[in-house]
């Protein structure tokens, strides 16, 4: 009993509750005639889709910039890469790689500016990041109308210009990762091997980075900026690098998301995209200034698991669709918990 209590304390109550809740959903699923294999398949797909976006939180948290509510900025870089790749009429892997290749420089550029801005407002990063994200999305709304994209599958038919709200990538590079080495167990369960491998590769890269000299310095900046400065580390530079990494990961993440989802969502699409990722990493056990890859993996799985399972299971049980409300309460409750917990540790 004592051990169990210690374990729960170590893992954290919210994570335990959510894990138990998810487990209950999986157990309950067969009883309300929800196919377990389909559920598992969906969870895996969503896990792969969102993984990289959640991973994009790690560098900024580690360098002490707080939760990256400015993720939409990275997403915009990814969108630019995606639509440009479509404009070039590239298909298959070439299209996917081109999208990433185009998105990365944008990500670096946006991240650089965004990082410089955050360096000027140390202490108030999160609120400002939120609004920088929002306003950049709104700014891009204008740009999507004005940028000279001409591919007829992407622009409004009647005007011949201005990008559509939703653009299909099926005929270009939809599913190139997901179907790569895809394993089909049944009609309902297939494993998106390629996408999971790609996510794994990204995790490996991030892991490796934090074992290099720069990565070590970045961790020190996040853990104790005074220590880092006394050891001769340029704090602002480290923070900027971390923001650039986060932004680039966000850009790559949205492209992975789109190839699996099959559509590019422009305009207000990226608006609230930061919140699920923030919630996921916090559910995984990260705090406002410490995040690990384990947090990413566990958090993404738990959060996406709940998102997959609540609509099907709860709806079958209660005959009402409460999944949206549950998503709002769980994800924001989680963020709220993290924010108040940090303050309590600090005040000691």
């Amino acid at each position: 009993m004592q051990k169990l209590r210690a374990l729960i304390h170590h893992v954290g109550w919210p994570r335990v509750i959510i894990a138990v809740f998810l487990l209950c959903l999986f157990v309950a699923a067969p009883f309300v005639r929800v196919r377990l294999d389909a559920s598992i398949g969906d969870t895996l797909v969503r896990f792969g889709m969102n993984g990289v976006l959640v991973l994009a939180m790690v560098p900024m948290v580690q360098s002490g910039c707080g939760l990256n509510f400015g993720l939409p900025l990275g997403i915009i870089a990814g969108l630019l890469g995606a639509v440009t790749s479509l404009e070039l009429n590239l298909t298959g892997f070439a299209g996917f790689v081109a999208a990433i290749a185009i998105a990365v420089p944008f990500g670096l550029l946006f991240g650089w500016g965004y990082g410089r801005l955050l360096n000027k407002v140390k202490g108030g990063e999160m609120m400002i990041a939120t609004y920088v994200g929002f306003s950049s999305v709104a700014f891009m709304c204008m740009m999507w109308l004005l940028l000279p994209y001409r591919n007829p599958t992407m622009v409004w038919g009647y005007a011949g210009k201005g990008l559509r709200t939703t653009i299909s990538v099926q005929e270009y590079w939809g599913g190139v990762l997901s179907d790569f080495f895809g394993i089909r167990f049944s009609d309902f369960l297939s494993v998106p091997t390629g996408m999971l491998l790609f996510f794994g590769l990204m995790c490996l890269l991030v892991w490796a980075f934090f074992h290099t000299k720069t990565g070590t310095a970045m961790t020190a900046v996040g853990t104790n900026p005074d220590f880092a400065r006394a050891s001769g580390i340029d704090i602002d530079r480290m923070r900027t690098i971390s923001v650039m990494m986060s932004t680039v990961l966000g850009a790559v993440g949205i492209i992975v998301y789109e190839q699996s989802f099959g559509f590019i969502q422009l305009y207000m699409g990226p608006f609230f995209m930061a919140f699920p990722s923030v919630a996921a990493i916090l559910i995984g056990g990260a705090s406002v200034h410490k995040a690990t890859l384990t947090n990413v993996l566990i958090g993404t799985f738990l959060f996406q698991g709940i998102l997959t399972m609540t609509p099907s299971v709860i709806n079958s049980m209660l005959q009402t669709d409460m999944s949206e409300v549950i998503r709002i309460i769980v994800s924001n409750g989680m963020i709220l918990y993290a924010l108040t917990r940090v303050a309590r540790v600090n005040s000691k």
């Binding site: 490796a208 074992h211 290099t212 000299k213 070590t216 310095a217 961790t219 020190a220 853990t223 104790n224 005074d226 220590f227 400065r229 006394a230 050891s231 001769g232 580390i233 340029d234 410490k290």
Partner: protein
């Protein structure tokens, strides 16, 4: 006026001024001192900080309380005010009587209610409020209105006119001229200090006022006005405990003084025949438990390796104003002085952690101040006084803490792979390094992967030293190496520093508040007072010499000492 207020001694303890209204009562032997402290003692976790302190204070008397930092003054005041920290750590011994009644406050508000006022060193004022508003803070004059009946007392309206009048009369009582409508944020420092005192005396029934180093931030003329105000208050029957490092002020303003050292009253007398030198000696005196003997050896040093000229450092609470000194190769150079005088600022400024200016030459080449990399690259390392704040990555393993600076600044403990494209941490080399230091410094830990925060203070300090040694510095700054660690560990740490100096010939500049510690291992000791070098003495110099320098009572130039 001042002369007439000089004390006369009645009996062996009670002191009153002849002009005092209750003087006649005293003659009738009905007098009970306002405050009587009997046998008060206090230990924190077995560490004794106060021992059998007894004294009493009569109405209208001004008592000077002097002592080095750590002598127990603040603990005594914490006990008097019933600070929660005292109760949380097991209460105190002895008894305190106010007006003949035993008191033991459970929080400072009770002390305030009982008529004890305290003026702290740091200003406790609301910047956007006027002097008057601050003086009556949370005791505002108010008028009732209808809504009070519904929403409670806090919706009473303020009576601004009366607040202004009360503020002004409190200021007038002090005999200074401050506009009661002036905002605190626009005031010069001295006025803030007076505003704060005015707040305490404005409280109805303030009988006892504790002033904690009120003159530290004041100019000389302001300090003179303050002392004058104190006498006026005393004449009105308010007793004052005056804590100060400026001994001359204590002698000028007080009727009587007591000296605390290591938690004990070592001297108590009237100020009439007092002499600064005598008080200084009493204050600094010999400490218990620190070894006195030092190996006398013929020590020869090389050329000057570090020279600082007109150094100023803007470190909050430890401002360095104008410091020049030079340190020779192979030497252990000590920097001492009372807290807040600026001794800690020197190392922090040279290491680029706080804004600084002046010239610092190391091996003939200038160090760029404001840039930590410059000093680190030149081969200077720093063990900070703020161990947990600056010294360690508490949440990271021991080995990373030790290797960090060497890894970042000197590109050691790295290995390349993929043809030099990737530079990794060389975990094996880091392990090796950590093992080496854990062994040589006898760091008590489970293994090198343990997190730094799980270790005791002494072992954490050793990690800080190991981190500095790992960069193989030519010059090492060590600040307060024994602060907050137990006696056994103290000796180990000091021995480690000395051994490093002897074995590698590393030049060491050690800053410490503990004079005996400096005297035991340093070759020369500079004393910093009010941001300037008060003097540089050999460790064998008389304690009284140091005491005088600590207190700024005399300026001894380095030349005099050297000759």
């Amino acid at each position: 006026m001042a002369e007439s207020l000089k004390s006369v001694i009645i009996g062996d303890r009670g002191i009153l001024t002849p002009s005092h209204p209750s003087y006649t009562e005293v003659k009738g032997m009905t007098m009970e001192p306002l405050l009587r402290i009997e046998g008060v003692g206090k230990a924190y976790f077995g560490n004794r900080v106060l021992k059998d302190v007894s004294f009493s204070l009569a109405r209208g008397e001004i008592l000077g309380l002097v002592g080095e930092n750590g002598a127990g003054k603040s603990t005594l005041m914490n006990i008097l005010f019933g600070m929660p920290v005292i109760r949380e750590t097991g209460g105190f011994e002895g008894k305190i009587y106010l007006d003949g009644e035993e008191i033991a406050f459970s929080n400072p508000f009770e002390a305030l209610d009982a008529g004890i006022g305290m003026v702290h060193q740091e200003f406790s004022l609301i910047p956007g409020f006027s002097a008057a508003e601050n003086i009556v803070l949370n005791r505002e004059s108010m008028r009732n209105n209808l809504l009070v009946e519904v929403f409670g007392d806090r919706l009473r309206t303020l009576d601004r006119g009366d607040i202004f009048l009360r503020g002004r009369s409190a200021i007038e009582k002090l005999g200074v001229s401050i506009d009661a409508d002036m905002l605190v944020s626009e005031m010069p420092v001295g006025h803030k200090q007076f505003t704060e005192i005015a707040r305490e005396i404005e409280k109805a029934g303030t009988k006892l006022l504790v002033l904690d180093e009120p003159t530290a931030v004041l100019t000389e003329s302001e300090a003179a006005i303050l002392l004058e105000s104190m006498r006026r208050l005393a004449a009105e029957g308010i007793s004052i405990i005056f804590i100060s490092h400026r001994l001359q002020e204590v002698i000028d303003a007080c009727d009587r003084f007591i000296v605390l050292r290591d938690g004990e009253v070592v001297k108590e007398s009237g100020t009439e025949q007092a002499d600064v030198r005598e008080i200084a000696t009493a204050m600094v005196g010999r400490k218990m438990g620190v070894e006195e003997a030092r190996e006398e050896e013929g020590r020869a040093f090389g050329e000057a390796v570090l020279t600082a000229e007109q150094l100023w450092v803007d470190m909050p609470g430890e401002t360095v104003r104008d410091v020049s000194f030079s340190v020779r190769r192979g030497e252990i150079f000590g920097i001492g002085g009372l807290a807040g005088q600026g001794k800690l600022g020197i190392a922090n400024g040279i290491m680029g952690l706080f804004p600084a200016g002046g010239t610092v030459l190391f091996e003939g080449k200038p160090i760029t101040l404001d840039d930590p990399r410059s000093a680190l690259r030149a081969g200077i390392a720093f063990v900070s006084e703020d161990r947990r704040g600056v010294g360690l990555l508490l949440e990271e393993p021991i080995k990373l803490n030790i290797a960090f600076t060497a890894l970042q600044m000197q590109d050691r403990f790295l290995k390349k792979s993929l043809g030099g494209f990737l530079t990794w941490r060389d975990e094996a080399a880091i392990d090796e390094l950590a093992r080496e230091y854990i062994e040589s410094l006898a760091i008590k830990c489970v293994d090198a992967d343990q997190r730094a925060q799980e270790l005791s203070g002494g072992n954490q300090q050793k990690i800080c030293l190991a981190k500095a040694f790992a960069v193989r510095p030519k010059l090492l700054f060590v600040s307060e190496p024994t602060r907050g660690i137990d006696v056994g560990a103290k000796k180990l740490v000091l021995d480690t520093i000395r051994r490093h100096n002897r074995e590698y010939g590393t030049t060491i500049i050690m800053t410490s508040s503990e004079l005996e510690e400096l005297r035991s291992i340093c070759d020369r000791v500079a004393v910093i007072q009010e941001g300037r070098v008060a003097g540089i003495l050999p460790p064998t110099a008389d304690r009284a010499e140091f005491g005088m320098l600590f207190l700024g009572a005399s300026k001894v130039s380095e030349k005099e000492v050297a000759s």
